[in-house]
Symmetry: C3
Subunit: 138 residues, 3 copies
């Protein structure tokens, strides 16, 4: 059995948002109890990640770190049609994940105790992001 749904997430500009509850709702809607859940983001300037979801400083430290690793407006980048965060947003997406596959059991994603699923908006401006959730199994 395969069930596919599209969800949209409104971001408030650069930063990460936990989407675990929305993904588990898709799993629940699918009626699938055991199997896998694939999450795919249809963009190249926002990405997905699995991250600790208990302490907010993890997310702020992540932003600080990525800002150092891939500096906005760096002189090495030619691709800046949409601004100084254009090429960094593509690189940040490639260094993280565009597609995640998570085991499903008893109708839920089998996340660890402090593990959440996040959408990471890499552009400075707010965007509407489309995510395709495919649940398959029994």
């Amino acid at each position: 059995m395969v069930k596919q749904q599209t969800i949209t997430v409104k971001t408030a500009g650069r930063g990460s948002l936990e989407i675990s509850a929305s993904i588990n709702e898709c799993v629940s809607n699918s009626g699938i109890v055991q199997g896998l859940c694939n999450i795919f983001i249809q963009h190249t300037s926002a990405s997905l990640m699995l991250c600790e979801n208990a302490d907010a400083t993890v997310l702020s430290d992540l932003e600080t770190y990525m800002g150092h690793l891939v500096p906005d407006g760096d002189a090495m980048f030619q691709h800046d049609a949409e601004g100084p965060d254009d090429m960094p947003a593509h690189i940040r997406s490639i260094l993280t994940a565009g597609s995640l596959t998570i085991p499903v059991s008893e109708g839920y994603c089998m996340l660890g105790t402090w593990q959440g699923i996040f959408l990471w908006e890499h552009r400075q401006q707010a965007h509407i992001r489309k995510i395709i959730v495919t649940v398959y199994g029994e």
Copy 2:
């Protein structure tokens, strides 16, 4: 239903090549209309990525950036049996992806408007790379 095919891609040395059309051909050959497509590269010095496929400067900026992030011939690397790009090629592969899973609907990969699937050759020399494409669904 599960359908597995192996495709080979000839690279011209370091750089990225769009393979979206080849992957969609595998999906079409499989006869599967809705489900998922897994792409797996059987190498540790070339990788896969989802990337913007409209502006060629994105790919050249990516090369420039990766060259800075993981410098060929850096004195910290001991593993250089195959040359100064040997260990950097492994690291670049690990920082990107060896396996991607993409939703399939109406017989096509559900890529975003400006999203392509790329093979990224990390070695300086040309290589022949093997990719296994597994399509499953209904």
Copy 3:
């Protein structure tokens, strides 16, 4: 057909361990001959990777590199409740992979000749890590 198993791996602190044999044992136990094998780690300070498994200097170079890329105890990190390696362990996990999907044929993971599946412990202390292995196919 979907078969799910949980395996536990004891780590000896920071470093990577090949788990290809354990994963292939799960595939063998599943009775599934052709399909896919998903590997998911239920932690955010240890991760998974596909890496060259022939020369030990690859793994030591990887440690050296990651130590430079994400320095333990860097002043930019606020999240250090569990020590100077706490936030770096989360970042190292996000830059590598928490979930891998590998094709299965003739009852084995279709790895390349020099390709192994590794668990990468990012914390300095030893830990027990849980990995969920889901095999699906025919």
